[in-house]
């Protein structure tokens, strides 16, 4: 974890808090540690570390590990973290990045999530001067059709995307399945999906995946509009969509590269 090793600034009167969290962060990165290992880690005397461990055990911040004489993080972090997670709202997290994306690309932007074999649009922002009727909130497209769908399908765990592809193999002919596989491979290479005229002639879309704090795929951010504004500088559109997806992931608690 990034901040585990960096000593926190001490705030007068509550120094014990930074000492306590230094122990918890050490356990977060190491799993189980003995009192002596913890004392060495935080650079405090064993006796005072041992006293603090007693306090933290009583509070439930840490607990005894399975190896004799070791400690591990307590379930307090699980219960508080669970409540923090409950407050995260995917749509609320995506709204500001989506709005920026519509303004910067000049086309409509969408938040979509997977539902079974399809991607459902759950939020959208209009471009300032165009209103397209392509995708409305609640609309669903199969996972192999459209920019949002392809962004989701391309970044699903391999077993799940393979299961979906074998399922559609019964409905599509071989050439179509081959084309979907090529689309997915390109999407993974580029880091964003491209759908050009497949849903509506003259329209194009670009999508990128979003992730939660556990690194699980949550859905996709995409844009869709007339071919010209989307495709005239595809690299720029792709970069803007990916940045919006990264920003949304960060707002969900994912650790993303800047």
């Amino acid at each position: 974890m990034s901040s585990a090793q960096s000593p926190a600034r001490e705030v007068a009167g509550v120094e014990i808090l930074s000492k306590a969290m230094a122990l918890c962060f050490a356990l977060e990165s190491s799993g189980e540690l003995s009192a002596q290992q913890l004392a060495d880690h935080v650079g405090e005397p064993a006796s005072s570390t041992f006293r603090l461990l007693g306090q933290l055990t009583r509070l439930g911040w840490i607990e005894r590990g399975v190896t004799r004489g070791t400690y591990r993080l307590g379930l307090m972090f699980l219960t508080i973290g669970g409540q923090v997670e409950d407050r995260i709202d995917l749509r609320e997290a995506a709204k500001p990045p989506l709005e920026v994306l519509s303004r910067s690309t000049g086309v409509a932007s969408f938040l979509s999530v997977r539902r079974g074999g399809g991607a459902v649009c759950i939020e959208r922002f209009e471009a300032p001067d165009v209103r397209s009727h392509a995708t409305r909130i609640g609309d669903s497209l199969p996972l192999h059709t459209g920019a949002a769908s392809l962004a989701i399908l391309a970044f699903l765990p391999p077993s799940e995307s393979a299961a979906y592809l074998s399922l559609i193999g019964h409905e599509l002919d071989d050439a179509e399945v081959r084309r979907v596989r090529e689309d997915l491979a390109e999407t993974r290479t580029r880091g964003f999906s491209l759908s050009d005229g497949r849903i509506t002639a003259g329209m194009a879309g670009v999508g990128a995946p979003i992730y939660n704090h556990r690194g699980e795929l949550e859905g996709a951010i995409s844009v869709s509009g007339l071919r010209e504004p989307v495709l005239s500088d595809l690299a720029r559109t792709g970069a803007l969509v990916r940045a919006s997806a990264r920003e949304t992931s960060a707002r969900l608690g994912a650790e993303v590269d800047a």
Partner: protein, 251 residues
């Protein structure tokens, strides 16, 4: 051992922010009955360690750092290594949501789950808790923790979740006896109307480690009760198999 005041105050401030979301320090002081000057210092200390951040409108909130701390908890519980596979298989076999819960303090805390295919049950999920008089997990843990029975049954604060919640001592004693006699605990809409669950004990080397349960629509749970109990017992036996890590040394 006397608990350090700064740490206990930090705990109540954290719990208040977790329960209510973003608040101003003044609101926090009011909510927690911690002096306002102490709240300001605590908040500053929590910001310094990355657990709290300030919003532009002067409210403060818990950071996403908590999500990563929470994610580190269950992998460190090595006595449950491999439990995700067992839960996934149980959920797939039964089409119900499978839960693993342990005792901490006076609550059952869910530490892992595998969601069933039917409906999303959100009353219990990792990090969520149940009191020991309610739910398959809560009551199964109570039945197997004799040291807590008198305290829980003697409590005057047993709040009913539904009309089916067991809130009187005689009913809970009968329920404990039934759990120990039959080897499983049936939750019949005692936490959520329309929802049921069945819980069984996971024991290793004679220690009660926690409760394995499945939950779903009460109609499905009742209709498949015998099959579900058999599947739960088989899964609990697998969880009980000795592994490198056995039981927490302090348990």
């Amino acid at each position: 051992m006397k608990l350090n005041r700064t740490l206990t105050n930090a705990q109540v401030v954290i719990e208040a922010l977790a329960a209510h979301g973003a608040m101003t320090p003044a609101e926090l002081a009011h909510e927690t009955a911690v002096a306002r000057s102490s709240v300001y210092r605590l908040v500053e200390g929590l910001v310094a360690v990355g657990l709290v951040d300030a919003l532009p409108d002067s409210r403060v909130q818990l950071t996403h750092r908590w999500l990563h701390l929470a994610d580190a908890v269950v992998p460190s519980m090595r006595e449950w290594d491999g439990s995700s596979i067992v839960l996934d298989e149980l959920a797939a076999q039964t089409n119900q949501t499978a839960y693993l819960s342990v005792l901490r303090g006076d609550h059952a805390v869910c530490i892992n789950w595998a969601q069933g295919r039917g409906i999303d049950l959100l009353i219990l999920k990792p990090g969520h808790t149940l009191p020991l008089y309610a739910g398959g997990a809560g009551r199964n843990i109570l039945a197997h923790t004799p040291a807590l029975i008198d305290r829980v049954l003697g409590s005057t604060e047993l709040t009913a979740f539904t009309a089916h919640t067991l809130v009187d001592a005689a009913a809970l004693r009968a329920d404990i006896a039934a759990t120990l006699r039959t080897g499983y605990t049936l939750s019949h809409e005692d936490v959520t109307v329309g929802i049921g669950a069945i819980g069984v004990a996971v024991t290793r080397d004679g220690h009660y480690l926690g409760c394995l349960s499945v939950g779903g629509l009460i109609h499905d749970i009742k209709a498949d009760q015998d099959v579900l109990v058999a599947r739960l017992r088989a899964a609990a036996t697998r969880l009980a198999e000795p592994r490198a890590a056995t039981v927490p040394s302090g348990a």
